[in-house]
């Protein structure tokens, strides 16, 4: 019992080991119990969402919570580096200003109200269906046109390839939208 207490005394450990008191001999039990923030965390391999350099990222998470995002040293393009924006991508996902609920602004209203997600989806489907039926042109001069002229789309360069595929498939291949556009040009 007494030996245990003496053994915990850093000075004793230092003298016994002949060390200078800056190594493990100086650690308290509390320090010894400290673990890195990532200890036991899972790692998802990801890609930075900002510019198109495409830096590799390691996304550390535990229990459905993000812990941190770091550069992936294995990436042959970025070799572990991230720029100020890439380094801020953890905050991009976790900052308090993120939207978590659907916001709805009624015609002529001065403010947002919250809306249930499923209700909002149903309403958007209604709007699309009504506008499409009003502005759909099946043919012109006896030739097939199959164009919905009253609904437009913008955006895609920040999205995934699979998302762009689904947007184009539904909007153009299914609904007949031609006004489909995004940031990309040349």
């Amino acid at each position: 019992m007494l030996k245990e207490i003496i053994d915990r005394w850093p000075l004793v450990r230092q003298i016994r080991g002949g060390t200078d008191g800056t190594g493990p001999e100086a650690m308290s039990g509390q320090t010894r119990r400290l673990l890195p923030r990532h200890d036991g965390a899972e790692v998802a391999r990801s890609i930075c969402p900002y510019c198109a350099v495409g830096c590799g990222q390691l996304v550390f998470h535990r229990g459905n919570r993000l812990l941190s995002i770091e550069g992936d040293p294995k990436s042959p393009i970025s070799r572990g580096h991230l720029c100020p924006k890439g380094a801020a991508s953890f905050e991009l996902l976790t900052h308090p200003g993120r939207l978590k609920r659907v916001k709805y602004r009624a015609p002529r209203s001065r403010e947002w109200t919250e809306m249930d997600l499923e209700t909002a989806m149903d309403r958007v489907a209604d709007r699309v269906w009504e506008s499409r039926n009003r502005t759909f042109h099946e043919e012109r001069d006896g030739q097939s046109l199959m164009q919905c002229s009253g609904i437009a789309h913008l955006g895609g360069a920040t999205l995934d390839d699979e998302e762009n595929y689904m947007i184009k498939k539904l909007f153009t291949g299914g609904l007949g939208f031609v006004a489909v556009s995004n940031q990309a040009r040349i």
Partner: protein, 853 residues
């Protein structure tokens, strides 16, 4: 992406970022790479440490310039003069890499006798129709090219642009005459020489404001770093694209690189630096108005889209890779419509909508302002800040009946009804703002700037009701298909046929993203077995493929190559998947001599292994693996078989790089300098053609212009740019505390000379005005931006970052309010990088807290 697409065959960067380390010289122009693509810039730094010369030509001295050997400030909008003079320098001094140019480009091809160049017609090519303000391009064809089944070559006004109309809409470009001595007066090489003969160092001095000695130093250093033993690369970004001549600036660089033999070789190429994580991907799999996935054109209303056969006839070329056009189109229709697509109904071709005009962002936004649109979806984009004439765009949204925005934060676009000078009580627009998932909250693939598909693994669920776009589109589509099933009208035939049985998983019923990537990869219809690549695709309906150029990314179950994380070799094969077919350096057949041996030991990349009888090397050959260097096609051969063993540019019907573009561009077969739509000076090269005749000014109330030349109200040149610490329209950076603190407010870079002239000090407030709007910003008085001496006339330039808006932790005026809505003719991009403005001291001192320099 027709600048690169028409020149080389594919609308993507020809090289990889890492390959810049192999360059002997790098020209960065139209980009501040160190600031906008900082991590990619490490490869430029590495090249410089290995002895490469780095040149930065840009109006602003930035961190890119600081790391360059040479900084060349030039007037925004004078790029074609500068690059054209480089071409002229090459030709005048015999610096072309002739052993490359003769076999690998169309320099030797002879053009028609009735062709007239801009030198003959005061700045116009033959075929200009002043009524239609468009070219009829048949005189640009090769001499002897027979017409295609009686049809004259032509560009439909609504096609072209991003799509493949090279060699398709044109005549049979597979038949032509050549003069390998390059002496024939009508061969491309000689036409090119005459075309650029007046692009002299003196003209550079006069129009770019670059002293001739400085220009000659750049020309000498860049061309000296090219040849069998050396290669040079060019990097550009939206500083080139966002001009009324944007595509033609990239064309000029392409011609220069072809003449110097720098395409398809290590350390060479043109690296297009894209600005969003998947801007390349969203063009390859387009959310765009004029193309379908894989650069297949959207059908345009008219004769050519009456039947699938007529459409294929128009766009298929007999020789070169686009002979496979029908395979890719039919496979796409099978991916869309599955069993409902049959040979009897032309695989559902008639269900695709036909385009009838300008459906681009800018085109339809004007329709919106005129009340012609009812609804709008905006996904991850903030046009209320990011679009040209953003003030006009914000107001136009008030004409919508409904607006759906999907974002991670509330943006100015979603809240436009609070940000315009109309009371909300008078705005009828109904707005739905959906919370979106972030990049680590969903599986999916980005395609980066070097055509590399990289998969992201989902780490955590998105918060609250935030969902992915895939979730939104899938569940919206499900609802709409239910309605369509109840209303079996002709208009719903395509929607009813649309294959939509995606697997969903988890408590939110998220679609399985790998299944979508498998659809993009393609499968055989009979057994849903994944295809190994686009070579497996068929035109008979037996295969389905969502985007042929991505085929091979998922060649078998359990093998998602976009998720490959084991890089090997100098090009990192095994990490991600580069389209097409994991080729990292495009056109790499050109890295070997015509006989198949490397040009030099130092620059070897892909070569012919005579023992194994196949192409081999450090990259996947961008060439038929077993095609011998001495292969000569038979006369009736089609497709790739019609190209010889020395034809590296295999997308083109003639197999060579196009110095001259006979088909596919709407503003000329060669680049020509036109001034920006607003300029302080006359076009000294072509006084009768001030600006690009084919550009569309979209001039109307709310979108006004200063006079084209020297408007006394707007004496200064204005350009815009990005900061390292912010991202585009700010939605992903202004809400973040670290980034907001690093770059807290809008400023305007002004030279000390201009500051003295308008009596302001560093830190004072200034007002910057154009014919569209005025914004207020703090003056950053700095020698990083210099007044230019244009042959004795001093012109001041100013530069503004464009990230700010009224919402976020840091706010500022919307710089894009200053920019006009205009359209470059090929891709309909605005001219945001060169216009005229007035900078003056702010009258109101209320906001000014002064401060010395």
């Amino acid at each position: 992406m027709p600048g690169l697409g028409t020149s080389f065959g594919r609308g993507g960067a020809t090289t990889a970022q890492q390959d810049l380390a192999n360059s002997d010289a790098i020209l960065i122009m139209g980009s501040s790479m160190a600031e906008a693509h900082p991590v990619g810039f490490q490869w430029v730094v590495e090249a410089r440490e290995r002895g490469a010369t780095v040149i930065h030509a840009d109006p602003r001295f930035s961190r890119t310039s600081a790391m360059a050997d040479l900084w060349v400030p030039l007037r925004a909008g004078s790029d074609i003069v500068f690059l054209g003079a480089m071409i002229n320098y090459v030709l005048d001094n015999g610096r072309e890499f002739r052993d490359y140019v003769v076999p690998y480009t169309n320099a030797a091809t002879i053009l028609r006798d009735d062709l007239k160049d801009t030198e003959d017609l005061d700045g116009l090519f033959s075929g200009w129709d002043p009524e239609k303000k468009a070219y009829s391009p048949e005189t640009w064809d090769y001499r002897g090219s027979p017409s295609k089944k009686g049809k004259a070559a032509g560009h439909h006004e609504a096609t072209g642009g991003h799509s493949k109309d090279r060699g398709g809409e044109a005549d049979e470009l597979s038949v032509f005459e050549r003069d390998p001595t390059l002496e024939h007066p009508r061969c491309v090489f000689q036409v090119l020489r005459r075309h650029f003969s007046r692009y002299t160092p003196e003209m550079v001095e006069k129009l770019c404001g670059v002293p001739r000695e400085k220009f000659l130093e750049v020309a000498e250093k860049f061309t000296a770093a090219s040849g069998p033993e050396k290669t040079a690369a060019i990097c550009y970004a939206v500083g080139w694209t966002q001009h009324s001549v944007g595509v033609q600036i990239i064309r000029t660089a392409s011609i220069l690189q072809l003449l110097l033999g720098n395409i398809g070789r290590p350390g060479g190429g043109i690296l297009a630096l894209r600005g969003h994580a998947s801007i390349q991907g969203s063009t390859d799999i387009p959310t765009l108005y004029d193309i379908l996935p894989g650069y297949l054109p959207m059908p345009t209303f008219g004769e050519d889209s009456k039947s699938l056969a007529a459409f294929v006839q128009k766009h298929r070329s007999r020789t070169g890779w686009w002979a496979n056009f029908d395979k890719y189109l039919v496979s796409l229709l099978k991916a869309y419509y599955d069993d409902a697509a049959t040979p009897d109904n032309e695989f559902g071709f008639s269900w695709l909508p036909r385009t009838t005009g300008d459906h681009s962002h800018l085109g339809y936004w004007l329709d919106m302002a005129d009340g012609k649109l009812e609804g709008l979806f905006v996904f991850g984009q903030n046009p209320a800040v990011g679009a040209p004439n953003a003030g006009f765009e914000r107001k136009a949204m008030a004409k919508l009946q409904w607006l759906v925005v999907r974002e991670m934060v509330e943006t100015e676009t979603a809240a436009f009804w609070r940000e315009i000078d109309v009371p909300p009580e008078e705005i009828d627009t109904e707005v739905f703002l959906f919370p979106a998932a972030g990049h680590a909250e969903k599986n999916g693939t980005f395609t980066n700037t070097q055509r590399l598909l990289q998969w992201r693994e989902k780490a955590v669920d998105p918060p609250g009701d935030a969902r992915s776009e895939t979730w939104f589109i899938y569940h919206l589509g499900r609802r709409l298909k239910e309605r369509a099933a109840r209303e079996r009208r002709p208009r719903n035939a395509g929607l009813n046929a649309l294959w939509w049985d995606y697997r969903t998983e988890g408590r939110h019923q998220e679609p399985d993203v790998e299944q979508i990537l498998q659809e993009i990869n393609g499968w055989t219809v009979a057994d849903r077995e994944l295809v190994s690549g686009f070579a497996d695709l068929k035109a008979d309906g037996s295969t389905a493929c969502g985007c042929w150029i991505y085929s091979g990314v998922f060649p078998e179950l359990g093998n998602n190559r976009a998720n490959g994380r084991e890089p090997a070799g100098p090009y990192g094969h095994g990490w991600g998947f580069a389209w097409p077919a994991d080729r990292r350096i495009l056109y790499n057949r050109a890295s070997a001599r015509p006989d198949g041996k490397p040009w030099s030991e130092r620059k070897k990349l892909v070569w012919w292994d005579a023992e194994k009888e196949e192409w081999t090397g450090h990259d996947t050959p961008d060439f038929a693996k077993k095609k011998r260097p001495d292969y000569k096609p038979k006369k009736k051969a089609e497709g790739d078989d019609a190209l010889s063993g020395t034809d590296p540019f295999l997308m083109h019907p003639d197999g060579v790089g196009w110095i001259w573009v006979p088909s596919g561009l709407k503003d000329g077969p060669l680049p020509t300098h036109y001034e920006p739509l607003e300029s302080p000076v006359e076009n000294a090269l072509y006084p009768r053609q001030q600006s690009n005749p084919a550009a569309d000014r979209k001039e109307r109330p709310g979108n006004a212009y200063g006079s084209a030349v020297d408007d006394g109200r707007f004496p200064h040149v204005l350009t815009t740019y990005r900061l390292t610490e912010h991202h585009t329209a700010g939605g992903m950076s202004r809400p973040l505390s670290h980034l907001a603190e690093l770059a807290p407010e809008l400023f305007c870079e002004i030279s000390p000379e201009l500051a003295r002239e308008i009596r302001i000090r560093h830190g004072d407030w200034v007002i910057i005005s154009t014919a569209r709007a005025s914004v207020e910003a703090r003056a950053l008085v700095t020698e990083r931006i210099r007044p230019l001496d244009l042959a004795g006339r001093r012109v001041e330039q100013v530069a503004l970052p464009y990230h700010f808006g009224p919402i976020g932790l840091v706010t500022g005026d919307v710089v894009n309010d200053l920019v006009a809505i205009s359209e470059e003719p090929n891709v309909r991009i605005m001219e945001a990088k060169a216009m005229t403005c007035r900078v003056e001291r702010s009258g109101g001192t209320a906001r000014s807290d002064g401060g010395g320099a």
